[in-house]
Symmetry: C2
Subunit: 216 residues, 2 copies
């Protein structure tokens, strides 16, 4: 690749990174608002999360197209190619995180004007939402700064999410008057949405570590 082509390629790669960072911002915001919609039974916020997911989907489609055009036109060397393939995968993870925030918002909408979550489980869900959003934000910083150390640090948050997820199941099976089956179904699905959201964030971070260091 000639010098000016190389420069243009770097600009294009950076632009793809910027789109990924923007996607982390959008899915973090979506999960934040979906959690509010769920706990406060706020229909307007739930609707706005559901609608806004189209934006994430559009960014994903656009990023795919740009990455494919770059690969086809520039025939990039191994490292650049791996960066582009990694970007395609991160974009797919982020698109899925958007879907999961939308799923949470849809449960909120389905149960409106009730909250799908019993009051005594609000604290756990609040914490799961907080960690989910934090994972999205950190993932954005990690992509932006190619920050391998921060990426490795995400395991702690992911472990915390898994613990809360298990705690949610234990809480459902408490002593005394059992929860209605509808509540058990809602809480089970929602717990899974948060846990998968965290898994995908960690997956994005892992791909970045692999990209920078060549190691899993």
């Amino acid at each position: 690749m000639s010098g000016s082509l190389r420069e243009q390629f770097e600009v294009d790669l950076k632009s793809i990174d910027n789109t990924l960072v923007e996607m982390t911002r959008l899915v973090g915001s979506a999960m934040n608002r979906a959690t509010t919609a769920l706990l406060d039974a706020d229909l307007a916020i739930a609707e706005s999360v559901i609608t806004a997911d189209e934006q994430v989907d559009a960014l994903h489609v656009d990023l795919e197209e740009r990455a494919l055009v770059l690969i086809a036109r520039q025939a990039p060397v191994a490292t650049d190619l791996r960066a582009l393939i990694a970007a395609l995968r991160m974009s797919a993870d982020l698109e899925r995180m958007g879907d999961l925030a939308r799923h949470v918002a849809k449960v909120a909408r389905l149960r409106y004007p009730e909250s799908a979550i019993p009051p005594e489980l609000h604290e756990t869900i609040t914490e799961m939402g907080r960690i989910g959003v934090e994972l999205a934000v950190k993932t954005g910083e990690i992509i932006d700064g190619r920050d391998v150390d921060a990426a490795r640090g995400l395991e702690d948050e992911d472990d915390a999410m898994d613990r809360l997820h298990r705690q949610l199941f234990s809480s459902l099976q408490h002593e005394g008057e059992p929860y209605p089956v509808e509540t058990a179904i809602d809480v089970t699905l929602i717990g899974r949405y948060y846990e998968r959201f965290a898994d995908h964030a960690v997956s994005v971070a892992h791909r970045l570590v692999f990209l920078v260091t060549g190691e899993y």
Copy 2:
């Protein structure tokens, strides 16, 4: 690309297709056996499904590597590049289908020597398992034969899976003595695993349609 390079490239592409077909066979068999393990509370079968998933993961990693090497070495034209990128995505979907079969087997193992599924729900789960396996088999045939019409026909099976998934939730909320919360949790998660398994199969088929026709 020269004639002989072209021929070699076609051979390599076909070999990647063959791996994808092999993966559909493995995940179909895994879901079939996971369903048996779940309904018959068969620990040995559950363990074998859990162990066998490593094979699918290994094929996925190997396919990724081969596709990347092909892209890097051959700098394929747009159509070939799209075929390789599509193969990467199909492989990721199939790898996930393997995970979902493993998840079903893990619930079977967790509840052994009981079945996680109450007797009156066995019929629905049997049918969800049957459709899941059928989707995997058809997806293999579709990849092997580049069969766009068959791919479009998968929607019916996917709709049937969605109907059974909703029916499962209704059954959980039946009149009379409510199910234990543990059962509600297990059935909710398992229902989701089958539904996602079907979604990924349909996603593989959609990627093939896009690849062949250029249309979503």
